[in-house]
């Protein structure tokens, strides 16, 4: 995070939620730009591009998924969607439209801030870093070498590609479909069985003690690389 306070656009039609969020985010070191509709959000973002956006999926004048798509059409800012609907399909649609992550209402503000900081780190780190280092894990993108605690880890090309894509999108929740399309190609977009198998193999090689530490599972939606 930069020294200057990061500006975050928060769009939710519920004024009551905005009131609390403003204070909580302010305490966490963010400047909040509040919007109560899709149009307000898009206007505010165009006027003063924020560092990140938090968008409710249910808006009076449109769909949060559309807002994600439109923001993503001109900006790489991290987007977190607020979902009140326990419906995986809508979350996946938002992620595929460009959202980085989601939180489900009622969320803990602490959780939201943690996710927000994680996706902001992704943006500050993706500028073609040759090596990604997370705790004991080191991914040398130029040499295509992965080390854990200094020891080389032997990965198959598929496992390496998976890890590279996850790590390059650190903090971001990648849907099954996005990972499958990226690694195997669009014709394999529905083969989640293969994805799970490769993720399991990858975890066995890089996760210390078998506990998922770097690769987190979001059941039915996808995987994210944390750290």
């Amino acid at each position: 995070m930069s020294a200057a306070r990061a500006r975050v656009l928060v769009c939710d039609d519920e004024l009551q939620i905005l009131r609390g969020l403003k204070i909580v985010l302010r305490d966490a070191g963010f400047d909040v730009v509040a919007a109560q509709s899709a149009r307000e959000a898009l206007d505010a973002a165009a006027l003063h591009p924020p560092e990140a956006a938090i968008i409710d999926l249910v808006l009076p004048d449109g769909d949060g998924v559309d807002v994600c798509r439109q923001l993503r059409s001109w900006s790489q800012m991290p987007i977190i969607v607020l979902s009140a609907i326990g419906d995986e399909d809508v979350k996946i649609a938002a992620l595929e439209a460009g959202a980085d992550d989601y939180v489900t209402k009622p969320f803990s503000p602490r959780e939201l801030i943690a996710r927000l900081n994680a996706v902001l780190r992704r943006v500050s780190s993706t500028t073609d870093e040759p090596t990604i280092r997370v705790d004991g894990l080191e991914i040398d993108l130029a040499a295509r070498v992965v080390r854990r605690d200094g020891d080389d880890v032997h990965l198959t090309p598929t496992e390496y590609d998976l890890l590279r894509i996850l790590a390059r999108n650190r903090g971001r929740l990648l849907t099954h479909r996005a990972l499958l399309t990226e690694v195997w190609g669009p014709q394999y977009a529905d083969d989640t069985q293969a994805l799970r198998t490769h993720i399991a193999n990858l975890r066995r090689k890089i996760e210390p003690g078998g506990e998922p530490r770097y690769i987190r599972t979001d059941a039915r939606v996808g995987y994210r690389f944390v750290g």
Partner: protein, 474 residues
């Protein structure tokens, strides 16, 4: 089909022996009368042949006994009237013995042949009767809505076919039912009993258990199976419907409970901020109170709806004033916004018989709904008597609804435009319809897109309480 009642066919009409004897004597007498005048023109033997006709006829129709009797009687009569010396009987003559033998043999053969033919015809007739009965019973048992509905008609049918006063088909009979009849095994532990009315003798019972019971058992099994299938289909449909409702409920709960919860949780975290101004603290306190109230209102609605769906919203109907109820509801919905509703009531509005608490829920929901869509314009409420009914119209100047939405707005969880945050829980109007109908009224929505919406509630006006009663009460 048409021969059901007039020709039973399953039981034989008994043949009376007395009638056979009478027929034999009459036949002999008639033959004698016919041939007596011929005694001078025809030779006696050829005249005697004519008796054969009588023997044939009697043995064919009345059987061996009367046939033999006719043969004997013919021999004696012929001998008496035609064989010289006439007026006396002598069988000494060998030709007489021959005649007697011929008559008797003829009687025996004719009666035997006729018996066989008669038995076969009767058997064919019985089979036809059984086939007809089976077809008719199948039509009755499988054509009705349920087996239980069809049983009485099937019983009557069987009774009529057996020529009995009545027969009764009983499903799952009592163990100690010892009236004459037959037990039917329907498989799967189910039993039935065919109880035969008065006049059922042993041969009939035997015939029933041999010829009727197997077909009847098969039919009843088929009917039972069909009943079970139907019940299963109905149950599946009901389950599917309740699944749809459950899914919708989960979505509604998901959105409508989580949103205020999020506000409360966020406000709870925010209020602990060290850098809080006094205004902010007040604001956050208000958020918690208002959102908690919103949750409470939603819980009320869910309870109302679940009561209605469980059929437990029995109205406690009493005389109540629509004006009072509507004013109370408007005050509850309006809160501080007194200008939100414009109420107008005709003078001397009659009382309605309804559950006042339920009516209040009706108007709270209708008014909330109207206000949500009125776009800030006041909502008008007009109550008057139209066509002998109490008519209350709630008119908003909102965006209105298309015809497709109008037909569905009263369905639970239906929201116009799922993504519309103004749409509310989708429970309100379902509650409105539930309570209005429980109180014997009707509600419908009228609207044109762009021209606002009218919720028209109609309550029937019972006879008004008499003046004296109302005076006694005050």
């Amino acid at each position: 089909m048409g021969r059901r009642s007039d020709s039973p066919g399953l039981v034989d009409a008994p043949r009376l022996p007395a009638a056979g004897v009478l027929a034999a004597l009459l036949a002999v007498a008639a033959t004698t009368l016919v041939i007596y005048p011929l005694r001078d023109v025809a030779p006696p033997v050829s005249a005697g042949v004519i008796y054969l006709v009588a023997v044939l006829l009697v043995s064919t129709y009345w059987g061996l006994g009367p046939g033999l009797l006719t043969g004997l009687a013919s021999t004696f009569t012929f001998n008496f009237f035609h064989i010289p010396p006439t007026g006396g009987v002598s069988i000494a003559d060998s030709s007489n013995l021959v005649a007697l033998g011929v008559f008797l043999v003829t009687a025996a053969i004719a009666s035997r042949v006729a018996d066989i033919a008669r038995t076969r015809a009767a058997e064919a007739e019985r089979r036809r009767g059984e086939a007809d009965l089976a077809a008719d019973t199948a039509r009755v048992l499988l054509g009705g809505a349920t087996l239980a509905d069809a049983l009485p008609a099937a019983g009557q049918l069987i009774g009529a076919a057996l020529g009995l006063r009545g027969a009764e088909l009983i499903l799952d009979p009592a163990q100690d039912d010892d009236r004459p009849g037959a037990a039917l095994d329907l498989g799967g532990g189910r039993q039935a009993r065919l109880v035969l009315g008065a006049g059922a003798d042993d041969p009939t019972l035997a015939r029933v258990s041999e010829r009727v019971v197997p077909a009847l058992e098969a039919l009843l099994r088929a009917a039972l199976e069909r009943d079970e299938l139907q019940a299963a289909v109905v149950e599946t449909q009901a389950l599917r419907r309740s699944d749809v409702i459950k899914t919708a409920l989960l979505r509604a709960v998901s959105h409508d409970l989580r949103t205020p919860l999020t506000s409360i949780i966020t406000a709870g975290h925010a209020v602990r901020s060290p850098a809080l101004t006094g205004d902010e603290r007040d604001e956050l306190g208000l958020v918690v109170v208002e959102e908690a109230q919103r949750l409470a209102a939603l819980v009320d609605k869910l309870l109302d709806l679940s009561k209605l769906q469980a059929g437990e919203a029995q109205p406690r109907r009493d005389w109540c004033s629509v004006e009072e109820v509507v004013r109370t509801a408007a005050a509850e919905v309006a809160g501080d916004d007194a200008a939100g509703f414009v109420l107008s009531f005709d003078r001397d509005l009659p009382l309605v018989q309804a559950d006042a608490a339920q009516l209040e829920r009706v108007f709270v929901n209708v008014l909330e709904n109207a206000r949500r869509f009125s776009g800030g314009h006041p909502v008008k409420v007009r109550a008057r008597v139209v066509g002998g009914k109490m008519s209350i119209r709630v008119i908003d100047r909102g965006p209105g609804m298309s015809l497709a939405h109008l037909s569905r707005v009263f369905e639970p969880f239906y929201r116009e435009g799922a993504g519309d945050a103004h749409a509310g829980s989708g429970l309100g109007l379902a509650i409105v319809r539930g309570f209005v109908e429980a109180n014997g009224g009707r509600v419908r929505a009228e609207s044109l897109p762009g021209q606002g919406t009218v919720m028209a509630i109609e309550l029937s006006l019972a006879e008004q309480p008499s003046q004296t009663t109302s005076l006694e009460r005050t």
